[in-house]
């Protein structure tokens, strides 16, 4: 039925104006590997939405570079979150990924931005 509706749309000339979408070659995205433990990748996928410049500048969330918080505090904040401000990622990441994130945050130089 969906195919029918699309054909109907084509018959009505609905796609003509902006050009029809081009089918693409079958190609899978890159496979996952140990990338899943790369703190910078995890950060760029999930955390950079709020902690700007890769955690080097404040944005929706605070700047993380040079943080005086303990590892335990950071781990707990990522796991549990903060109501109305930061989601709880306890079910999203493994312990190894959480520690990879902390290592990434610790690697940030405080002089950038």
């Amino acid at each position: 039925m969906r195919l029918f509706s699309v054909r109907l749309g084509l018959a009505l000339g609905l796609l003509a104006a902006a050009g029809r979408p081009a089918p693409v070659a079958a190609q899978s995205p890159p496979a996952a590997s140990d990338e899943s433990l790369d703190g910078a990748r995890i950060f760029g996928s999930t955390c950079g939405f709020c902690h700007q410049a890769g955690g080097r500048a404040p944005g929706r969330g605070p700047k993380l570079a040079g943080t005086q918080r303990s590892d335990e505090f950071i781990l707990n904040r990522i796991r549990v979150g903060k109501e109305g401000a930061m989601p709880a990622y306890g079910r999203a990441f493994t312990d190894k990924q959480l520690h990879a994130l902390v290592s990434y945050i610790r690697s940030l130089k405080d002089d950038a931005q």
Binding site: R2, V24, G44
Partner: protein, 581 residues
């Protein structure tokens, strides 16, 4: 007696819906309250007294024809009543609705209130029990942006994936339908539903998650799901626009309420961006990267049959959106011009698309904001992107607009009296570094962004916002007012020749709709990030506005603009209602 009248009206609405008797065109409606609910209100002798659907009418005008409050007496506007819902995490972001002397609205955590529209006295409230662990794990939560009314019920979506119907008189649940497996997908519902005939239509969240952005049609009487349209690869044709298995990266949520064209029985809905937001393949996006291809039907306007959920036609505003510039934002302003039936739709990237309502063919595209460089232009005749700026792996400077968009999700307004379209534009840019992330192909509780970024001022100037009054079809500007920060709330136009702008610092401002001259203001004490409406109760006209700060866009203001946003509470909000003294 009142209950009998309400039942009569509900029955009348049903009859008119079934027969199609409510169908009317923009030109003969004479106001913003046409559509099925307006038919009942008209029958009650008070067309335009109420505000019964998210966009004010199916035509998305955000316009009240009421004239009691006007440019001559607006200075006498004062607070009539205030209602605090409590626990307003991320502020009140919703659009109140009014029917038959009752104001309904929803706050954070999908809490619903029914209040006497003249006094603010509570009639009933409903607090759904939510999955607290899930809510704590959600990024775009726990706000709820609106409800739908009709068939004797109030309809509200929940952030844990349910659509609930409440009895309008008592607030008692009539049905509670689980539509999205939010525990698996993380996302749920934050947008308002839309009642069309006997269906409640609602779109799920989802631009940055591996879902398929469904839009649902649910039977308004029983709560039974009738249809589901997948905005990600939902047809054979669309599946071919995602290389390999990349459709699993998903996105495309229809997270804001759409509109309905009764003449053609067509629902118009906007869809969100694909995931991840940024694509390290840069200019080779047709062949490589995390989601090769056009990625239909993300960042598109789609036209659905409300009875079946079948796709009638569509236009993808940004093929292979690589900037997070949703089509899910904004309104579908329906109007007639030179014998053509048009719909005007803003895109988050800063352009306004004008379509023919019969088939979504492009009639015009015009630019609302000044700072745009993600494309050089968009062909006004075809809608084709010209000179797109794709962003390969690595650092990029001064991408405009910023991720927060040239326009945000709240709505503009259209006045049939002035013929002008009033809309907020946002002028800001950002620096970013595109990261090669691991594609997220399975549902999981995390975002899929693909870049680190920093908002910044445009080159040669400061970030700012503006309100302009324009011809909705050509974009020709009649007047403009600038703001030091972009207002993020919806606008209201009225028959009293006024345009109301709730601003981010907390001022509610009124402007002469013809000239843009400010004619009144009031300090609500906290920023605005939600809806505003006008209605009449017991012979008096009221203006109701949602207050409260803390949306994901507003969260950027502290770092970019400093105070008062650094210290502005993000857990407060109220409905503030004004009338003439």
């Amino acid at each position: 007696m009142k209950q009998r009248r309400a039942l009569y009206l509900a029955g009348l609405v049903t009859v008119m819906l079934v027969t199609g008797a409510c169908s009317m065109s923009t030109s003969d409606s004479g106001g913003g309250m046409s559509g099925p609910r307006a038919a009942s209100m008209s029958d009650a002798g008070g067309a335009g007294n109420d505000w019964t659907t998210y966009h004010g009418s199916y035509q998305s005008w955000h316009y009240s024809p009421l004239t009691q409050i006007n440019t001559d007496n607006v200075k006498k506007l004062q607070v009539a009543w205030v209602h605090h819902p409590g626990r307003s995490t991320r502020g009140l972001q919703s659009m109140p609705l009014v029917a038959d002397g009752v104001l309904y609205y929803t706050g954070s955590y999908s809490r619903v209130w029914a209040l006497d529209a003249a006094t603010g006295q509570p009639i009933w409230s409903y607090f759904p029990k939510l999955n607290d662990d899930l809510v704590a794990a959600q990024t775009h939560s726990p706000y709820t942006r609106g409800i739908a009314l009709g068939m004797g019920k109030v309809y509200v979506g929940t952030v844990d994936g349910r659509l609930i119907a409440l009895d309008m008189k008592t607030g008692q649940p009539a049905w509670d339908t689980k539509l999205v497996n939010s525990e698996k997908l993380t996302v749920g519902f934050t947008g308002a539903p839309l009642l069309v005939k006997d269906k409640v239509i609602i779109g799920a969240q989802g631009g940055e998650w591996p879902g398929r952005g469904p839009i649902f049609g649910v039977d308004a009487s029983s709560g039974k799901k009738v249809w589901e349209f997948l905005t990600v690869a939902g047809t054979d044709e669309a599946m071919k626009t995602w290389g390999g298995e990349s459709w699993k990266t998903g996105g495309g949520g229809g997270w804001m309420a759409g509109a309905y064209d009764a003449e053609t029985n067509t629902v118009w809905w906007g869809t969100g961006n694909p995931a991840p937001l940024y694509d390290w393949s840069g200019g080779d996006w047709k062949n490589s990267g995390p989601r090769p291809g056009d990625n239909l039907y993300t960042t598109s306007v789609i036209a659905l049959d409300p009875d079946t959920g079948k796709l009638k036609f569509y236009h993808q505003e940004l093929p292979h959106d690589a900037w997070d510039f949703d089509s899910a934002v904004g309104e579908f302003v329906m109007l007639d011009r030179d014998g053509k039936k048009l719909v005007v739709h803003p895109n988050k990237g800063g352009h306004v698309f004008v379509y023919d309502r019969k088939d979504a063919s492009v009639v015009n595209v015009w630019q609302l904001v000044n700072n745009i460089n993600f494309v050089k232009s968009i062909d006004p005749k075809t809608g084709a992107l010209i000179g797109r700026r794709d962003l390969p792996l690595g650092k990029h400077s001064n991408l405009c607009p910023a991720i927060a968009g040239g326009m945000s999700w709240n709505s503009g307004a259209y006045s049939p009296k002035t013929g002008l379209y009033y809309k907020i534009g946002q002028e800001w840019c950002m620096d970013l570094e595109v990261i090669k992330t691991t594609p997220v192909l399975e549902p999981q509780a995390q975002l899929d962004i693909g870049a680190n970024f920093t908002l910044r001022n445009p080159e040669g100037g400061k970030a700012y916002g503006h309100l302009s009054g324009r011809d909705p079809v050509t974009g020709q500007k009649k007047w403009e007012v600038r703001f030091p920060e972009p207002p993020l709330a919806s606008l209201l136009a009225t028959g009293g020749n006024l345009v109301f702008v709730p601003d981010p610092r907390g001022m509610l401002r009124a402007y002469n709709a013809e000239t843009g001259q400010e004619v009144w203001s009031h300090n609500n004490g906290i920023g605005h990030n939600g809806g505003i409406i006008s209605y009449s109760a017991k012979g008096k006209q009221y203006i109701a506005v949602a207050t409260g700060w803390g949306s994901l866009v507003g969260d950027e203001f502290g770092a970019l603009f400093g105070e008062p946003f650094k210290s502005m509470p993000k857990d407060a909000g109220a409905i503030v209602v004004f009338t003439l003294e």
